[in-house]
């Protein structure tokens, strides 16, 4: 069943829809009232990155160039925004791969990444550990909540507070998948599930 995945250069496939209001949901965190929203998204595949549904893969070990397999959601410029999703690494022999970003206004204001020890860390905070080695072992589900309020980012892993810091103000957007950081390299295969968004 193993096969090499061909390189796909800079494919951007629009796959989203415009934001729609949805009934109030019950799984959100922090004090509401929150409104469930469904921002549109595009699929970003660059270098050796491929996206198949909610499974994102980097098939190469290149330590240079853009290697990306992500969903990039619509930009927002107001309100408090909450993202929730659960990821599971299927296989990984690479290192320092970004799994989730809150991007804006012109760079990744928050970047959750995983290293070879399966530690989760924040690329933008001096590599601060968000969850210890072994957290993201193969096949193990990890639930991520991020709340972006003004310029403040609050990061939660498996229900626990892991990081809070002041980022940049301005418009942002959420994205998740697999992306080679400046010091990283694949391969990796990760599957996301239960993706939810709210605003208040």
């Amino acid at each position: 069943m193993a096969r090499k995945i061909p390189l796909v250069a800079a494919v951007l496939a629009s796959a989203g829809s415009l934001a729609l209001s949805a009934p109030a949901a019950t799984a959100q965190v922090e004090t509401g009232p929150w409104t469930s929203v469904s921002p549109g998204y595009s699929v970003q595949q660059q270098g050796c990155g491929t996206v198949s549904g909610l499974t994102m893969s980097l098939s190469c070990s290149s330590a240079s160039g853009v290697q990306r397999a992500e969903r990039r959601y619509d930009t927002y410029c107001d309100g408090v925004r909450q993202f929730q999703g659960t990821f599971r690494i299927n296989s990984m022999s690479g290192n320092r791969i970004s799994l989730k970003q809150t991007f804006g206004p012109s760079d990744a204001d928050f970047m959750l990444a995983v290293d070879s020890s399966r530690r989760l860390y924040s690329v933008r905070n001096g590599g601060a550990t968000i969850a210890p080695a072994g957290t993201a072992a193969n096949g193990v589900s990890v639930t991520v909540n991020t709340v972006h309020s003004g310029s403040e980012h609050r990061i939660y892993i498996n229900g626990s507070s892991r990081l809070k810091y002041a980022g940049l103000s301005g418009c942002h957007y959420d994205k998740f998948g697999a992306y080679r950081t400046d010091s990283g390299a694949g391969p990796i295969s990760v599957t996301w599930s239960n993706i939810r968004f709210w605003r208040r």
Binding site: I5, S116, S160, N194
Partner: protein
């Protein structure tokens, strides 16, 4: 609804338990020891299980995320630094399955090196094998022919013969030299019988085993709402 007040805390403590599907009395309680620290306590319902998992969700109907695999000897768990001002729901589920015989392997020195090329040996796969014949709850379902072979100084390939018909997957368990017991290295899909694992520096000498698993009935669900400040 049952409400517990933690002895040392007179702050916000909202703990609830709901009866199980059959109306059983609650067998899991969750209380707040601080506004953002939960303590769980439960009774083990089936001592024939192989172990148990503690799970949480922010919605009663889930989906639930596993917080930890625990031995049956554990009946308490602390979930700490919780998201403030948020509802939490907990449950504990037993899991069943008999492990393969264990295999020890010592890897040669060598630092972790990012791979030079796509590594097919890491991908889980299913080799042809004899028909499976046993339930996960049957000890005859334990995997046989378990092998661990070195692929490189930081990688091993595991193979086994699958004998279970109803597994939800396999647990790859590892005990690094000097560790008190086995811990989870990976969760693998059902029917897989070949698996590659990148090892950690602390696992140069380690013992491995693989276990088919299937979850049993959960405890009642216990609920609480955290306090604290954002």
């Amino acid at each position: 609804m049952i409400r517990h007040l933690a002895a040392a805390v007179s702050l916000v403590v909202l703990a609830g338990c709901s009866a199980g599907p059959t109306g059983d009395a609650p067998n899991l309680t969750a209380t707040l020891s601080t506004p953002v620290d939960a303590e769980l306590s439960w009774r083990v319902a089936d001592k024939a299980a192989a172990g148990q998992v503690v799970e949480y969700s922010n919605a009663e109907n889930g989906p639930y995320t596993i917080l930890e695999f625990l031995p049956l000897s554990r009946t308490t768990y602390k979930h700490e630094d919780l998201i403030p001002q948020t509802k939490f729901f907990y449950r504990v589920r037993p899991y069943y399955g008999t492990a393969s015989p264990s295999v020890e392997l010592t890897l040669p020195p060598g630092e972790f090196e990012e791979s030079k090329e796509f590594q097919e040996w890491l991908l889980p796969s299913t080799r042809p094998g004899p028909p499976a014949h046993a339930s996960v709850r049957d000890a005859r379902g334990a995997p046989t022919d378990f092998t661990v072979t070195m692929v490189n100084p930081n990688g091993v390939k595991l193979t086994w013969t699958d004998h279970t018909t109803d597994e939800e997957g396999f647990l790859v368990e590892i005990k690094p030299d000097g560790a008190p017991g086995f811990s989870l290295a990976a969760m693998v899909d059902p029917n897989v019988n070949t698996y590659g694992l990148v090892t950690q520096p602390t696992e140069k000498k380690a013992t491995y085993r693989v276990r088919p698993y299937r979850f049993g009935e959960p405890t009642t669900i216990a609920a609480l709402t955290t306090g604290g400040n954002l």
